[in-house]
């Protein structure tokens, strides 16, 4: 039997290279790291949502066994580190000096020889709080006489952060005036949390002799963090090394800089020993970057034929105590104005207001581009509601209003230029896979028998791959990304990128791009990311940008080396460059396929037998600034049954047709989709960070913050269409986030469809049994 040669090019579902390490328990996460002399840090957090700090007494704690230092806001202030900048041009307290503004806010930190000692001493710190009234919603924040949360800011007279608009108010107003039908939906996309399996943490190691600060941390964007640290602390950037080791899930939660990182680094600098800080689960859930928390009202204008003529949206954003939305666009509400979605809507107008509340800061893009999930959810819910209200089938209504294939590149009413798409095709594939027509008849039949059952559809359009530097940057750093490829003399290669995998499978996918473009088998390409001393500069991994940006950079640098390889091959073959042809892994002389040189032979020659005057080596770097975003899309369909007695929703089927352009490793893509559909299921049905009237966080552990397990997660039936991105070198679009963006609306639409015979138009997520029960009983349905 012939040996199977696995090349691992684009389109091959090769196994993940990183899995051997993870499955054998040989991953190297932050908490696995132990440095000689390392100390441990524990953070004291506020039990109150809003309180004035009257005193912080550390005397008892300081004298406890093993305690090296107790750090307070006052001490940090002496070093001008009590406050830090956020990613949204606001400030955030590192350790509180004046007030605490959310439950779980960092008040003090204990550095001790062991974690147990640090925790014991933390409990011995005595803080005198003067409790203030807490604000827990935008509604509360704008009430006359509401407590001023940010009294630390000059010129801040109320709790309003921003007002932002997009689209055209005049034309939209005119279209609504002429509308035959207006459909309104007010819905709340509640606060949820990325809740990665590994919490955040760091080991800060500042060398007192060399001044070199090495910070091992759970960061999705190590390079940007290095620059931010340099700017905040004044340390020279070459003396800062940020290392992101293996990361156990990020989902946006590991983009921001958290106070713990800053305090641990300052403590290591002051003490001269490494300091480890690892959050426990509750700390992660109550203090680090939440997601969503948007109160949205959408109006859809329709003509008498069911054609959408305009969209109007207002949203109130609950931003917590510090405006720390982790997003790099110039738009205050992120990319929310993609809200026209997959539909050819002539005009739209979006207004948004952000408010401070006494809740944790840090609106992060939980597995999505910034605020795209909220936008996609709103438009897809509105579309289904509109179809139900005008009595048209929801699939037919979508098809009637989709952007047509021949309209791409499509200029949306709010200024986006969609690169490519075929929405009708994705819909048809999904309906066919579902057996929609038969299923619809079955639903009608079962409803007549008294059953509560329904089908939900969502046809989302994502916008990912931030992004072109003109519109996207972090503190001025343009959102390019990079790849550096070094081919060794034996034809093996090392690829380093400015991104950072948190489980996405970069070590495999990006090796496959090299395998395709330079012909070196994927198994021979080692991929490294996350060490700022060795990797080229990049903006990191989030917003499904790795493949669109660093993947493009990888393709481009591979092509650069291939062109150098052509010159070397021409030299070795004594042929003219233009007489050579490339097949994957080999140049050969046109017309003489036997006369050729493999990429491995070329690599060896790059170090041993070069053309006259050529620089030795076969390596290069490419920085890729994408010309546009990419726009993945798809249609998801969900079938549910509802228990009339308990209000429980049983998801019977999920069909998910994704179009993410060219798929590099289809198995990894499918894994991504499964993960995202599961997270979408969790968000739709169980995940919730909420607060009581005093601002106490409910959802502070996994008994309260509910993540779906294999037991309740539905079975997923996947399908695909392929519409390449015209501007990406490989035609790839990115996929990691499509299912989280697209699926919540599909799940909820199925429930709304099931309850539509009873006139139910909205249930806010999470759609829990009590809410469904209330809707059923209000309609007189019982068991």
């Amino acid at each position: 039997m012939a040996a199977t040669h696995v090349h691992g090019g684009i389109g091959e579902s090769i196994k993940r290279k990183e899995d051997s390490r993870f499955l054998h328990g040989k991953g190297n996460y932050i908490d696995d790291l132990a440095l000689p002399g390392m100390l441990h840090m524990s953070i004291l957090r506020s039990p109150h949502a809003h309180a004035r700090l009257k005193s912080v007494d550390t005397s008892a704690a300081s004298g406890m066994p093993g305690v090296i230092a107790v750090v307070t806001g006052e001490l940090m202030a002496q070093h001008k580190l009590a406050w830090m900048p956020t990613l949204s041009n606001d400030t955030q307290a590192v350790l509180a000096t004046d007030k605490v503004r959310f439950q779980g806010q960092e008040v003090a930190a204990v550095i001790a020889e062991t974690r147990y000692q640090a925790e014991d001493a933390r409990d011995a710190i005595v803080v005198d709080y003067e409790v203030l009234t807490a604000v827990t919603s935008p509604e509360g924040a704008k009430t006359a006489g509401a407590p001023l949360i940010r009294d630390d800011k000059e010129n801040q007279k109320d709790n309003h952060i921003y007002h932002w608009e997009s689209g055209d108010q005049g034309t939209t107003r005119a279209a609504f005036a002429k509308a035959d039908k207006v459909v309104r939906l007010h819905t709340f996309y509640p606060r949820c949390h990325p809740a990665p399996l590994e919490t955040c943490g760091c080991v800060a190691d500042v060398n007192g002799v060399t001044g070199k600060a090495t910070i091992y941390m759970t960061s999705q964007a190590p390079h940007a963090i290095r620059t931010v640290f340099a700017l905040v602390t004044g340390l020279p950037e070459q003396n800062i090394r940020v290392i992101s080791p293996d990361i156990g899930g990020g989902f946006g939660n590991k983009v921001p800089v958290y106070p713990g990182y800053v305090v641990a680094t300052a403590a290591s600098l002051l003490i001269g020993r490494p300091v480890k800080w690892i959050e426990d689960r509750t700390e992660n859930l109550i203090s680090t970057g939440y997601a969503r928390d948007f109160h949205m009202t959408g109006d859809l204008a329709l003509d008498k034929d069911g054609k959408i003529t305009a969209l109007r949206v207002h949203l109130d954003s609950d931003n917590g105590a510090f405006f720390a939305d982790a997003q790099p666009s110039k738009f205050k509400a992120g990319l929310f104005h993609i809200v026209t979605g997959s539909y050819d809507i002539p005009t739209a107008h979006i207004t948004a207001d952000g408010y401070y509340t006494n809740k944790a800061p840090g609106g992060v893009a939980y597995r999505c581009s910034f605020r795209v999930t909220e936008a996609s959810y709103l438009i897809e819910r509105l579309i289904t509601n509109a179809a139900i209200e005008i009595g048209m089938d929801q699939a037919e209504f979508r098809k009637k209003n989709f952007i047509r294939k021949d309209q791409f590149p499509y200029h949306s009413a709010t200024g986006w230029v969609y690169d490519s798409g075929d929405y009708h095709k994705a819909m048809d594939v999904a309906l066919d896979q579902l057996g929609y027509d038969e299923l619809r008849k079955d639903v009608e039949k079962r409803r007549k028998q008294g059953e509560v059952t329904g089908i939900g559809i969502a046809s989302f359009t994502e916008v990912v791959g931030a992004g072109h530097g003109a519109d996207f940057d972090i503190l001025g750093l343009r959102m390019f990304d990079s790849a550096e490829l070094r081919v060794h003399p034996t034809g093996k290669a090392m690829l380093r990128m400015g991104t950072k995998s948190q489980g996405q499978g970069h070590e495999t996918t990006f090796a496959q791009i090299v395998a395709e473009e330079l012909g070196i088998p994927a198994a021979d390409v080692a991929v490294e990311e996350g060490d700022t001393d060795t990797a080229p500069y990049g903006l990191g991994t989030y917003a499904s940008r790795s493949t669109p940006v660093a993947g493009a950079a990888t393709a481009m640098v591979s092509r650069k080396l291939r062109e150098k390889g052509r010159k070397i091959a021409a030299h070795l073959l004594e042929a003219a460059e233009e007489d050579l042809e490339w097949e994957r892994g080999r140049f050969f002389v046109k017309g003489s396929p036997d006369k050729g040189k493999t990429i491995q032979e070329i690599a060896f020659a790059a170090y041993t037998n070069l053309p006259e005057g050529m620089e030795a080596g076969l390596e290069g770097v490419h920085y890729y600034d994408p010309p546009n975003m990419t726009y993945p899309f798809g249609t998801y369909a969900v079938v549910v049954d509802v228990d009339k007695g308990t209000g429980q929703v049983k998801v019977k089927r999920v069909v998910a047709v994704d179009d993410c352009g060219v798929r590099i490793n289809p198995m990894i893509v499918e894994g991504q989709i499964h993960g995202g559909l599961t997270e979408g299921f969790g968000i739709a049905f169980m995940e919730l960070i909420t607060f009581d009237a005093e601002g106490n966080c409910i959802g502070s552990n996994f008994m309260d913050y509910l993540l779906p397990t294999a037991w309740e997660s539905p079975k997923f039936e996947l399908g695909e269409t392929v519409t390449p991105s015209p501007h990406h070198p490989l035609g790839a679009k990115g996929v990691g986030e499509s299912p989280t963006v697209g699926s919540p609306a599909a799940y909820v639409n199925a429930v709304i469809d099931a309850l539509s015979p009873y006139g139910v138009k909205n249930i806010d997520m999470p759609v829990t049994p009590d809410k469904v029960w209330a809707a059923l009983r209000a309609a007189g349905v019982s068991e």
Partner: protein, 289 residues
């Protein structure tokens, strides 16, 4: 999640255990499977001076049939009840309820005795034992005593056990033509009940001789729905009789609104589950299975 310091003792005999409790019972927490206590320690919600780990005591695990009773040893793990095939006909509510407890990891470690002594109002076993009219056997240095299930649960995390006592066994009366059912509404696997209802019936011909109904998560402890139980005695299990019992049980519930839902919602789920449970239990008792 780092517990405060505590002393730890792991007695190797029941005599040694009750001796430790005689001396330090007031400041001690007894640990069996540890599935409730360890999270509380790690969250520092519970900071006992001493943890007495009885997990290694001999002869306290297992279910046996003796003198017309089922004797469930205090250290019997949930999984031992769940996987016991004899119980599926002898007392089907036991394996059914066991299957609803938390998740497989916890069922492998947690014990029936530990769970009832923890007396969480959201715990499942308490309602089952109330429905079954079980007896709890407690041992101290001064001897053994039996506590009726109805007297055992006194409030949230509070039982009739004295600090010097350890639970050794639960005795469940067995009767012919009897069976039960456990219905539970939970938000996800591993979650505590939003509402759960244990129902046990003993049939006499086509009439219900005796009914037991226990309610989970709708009061400050597991509740016994006595009026509903009484309403069924001597009655045929008609839709009307079942609906009336369900109404009475719902009225007996004392639910509080929380993130899981309103009081009205929980009360109505009690009604729905009493109806469903009675129908299942009657069918099982009649020999359906």
């Amino acid at each position: 999640m780092f517990p405060a310091a505590f002393d730890y003792r792991a007695p190797s005999s029941l005599a040694e255990a009750v001796d430790i409790l005689r001396q330090r019972g007031e400041e001690a927490k007894v640990m069996a499977g540890g599935q409730s206590l360890i999270p509380l320690l790690k969250l520092r919600f519970s900071q006992p001076a001493l943890v007495v780990d009885i997990g290694r005591l001999p002869n306290l695990a297992g279910v046996e049939r003796k003198d017309g009773h089922l004797r469930v040893g205090a250290l019997t793990r949930h999984v031992q009840v769940e996987s016991n095939t004899d119980l599926r006909t002898l007392c089907p509510i036991l394996p059914e309820a066991a299957h609803w407890i938390a998740d497989p990891l916890i069922r492998n470690q947690g014990t029936v005795g530990g769970s009832v002594c923890h007396a969480d109002p959201q715990g499942d076993w308490g309602s089952v034992m109330l429905a079954l009219d079980a007896d709890f056997v407690a041992r101290s240095e001064s001897g053994e005593r039996t506590i009726k299930a109805a007297d055992f649960f006194q409030g949230p995390f509070t039982t009739a056990l004295r600090p010097d006592e350890v639970l050794t066994e639960i005795r469940i009366p067995l009767a012919a033509h009897s069976a039960g059912a456990y219905n539970k509404l939970e938000r996800k696997v591993g979650d505590f009940a939003t509402v759960a209802v244990a129902v046990q019936v003993e049939m006499n011909g086509d009439k219900i001789a005796k009914a037991g109904i226990g309610l989970t998560s709708v009061g400050d402890r597991n509740l016994k729905a006595r009026d509903a139980e009484k309403s069924l005695a001597g009655k045929q299990p008609t839709d009307e009789a079942i609906a009336e019992a369900a109404r009475l049980a719902a009225a007996a519930a004392e639910p509080k609104a929380d993130v899981r839902g309103s009081a009205e919602f929980k009360r109505d789920i009690v009604r729905v589950f009493v109806q469903r449970g009675l129908k299942t239990a009657v069918a099982r008792a009649r020999g359906g299975q």
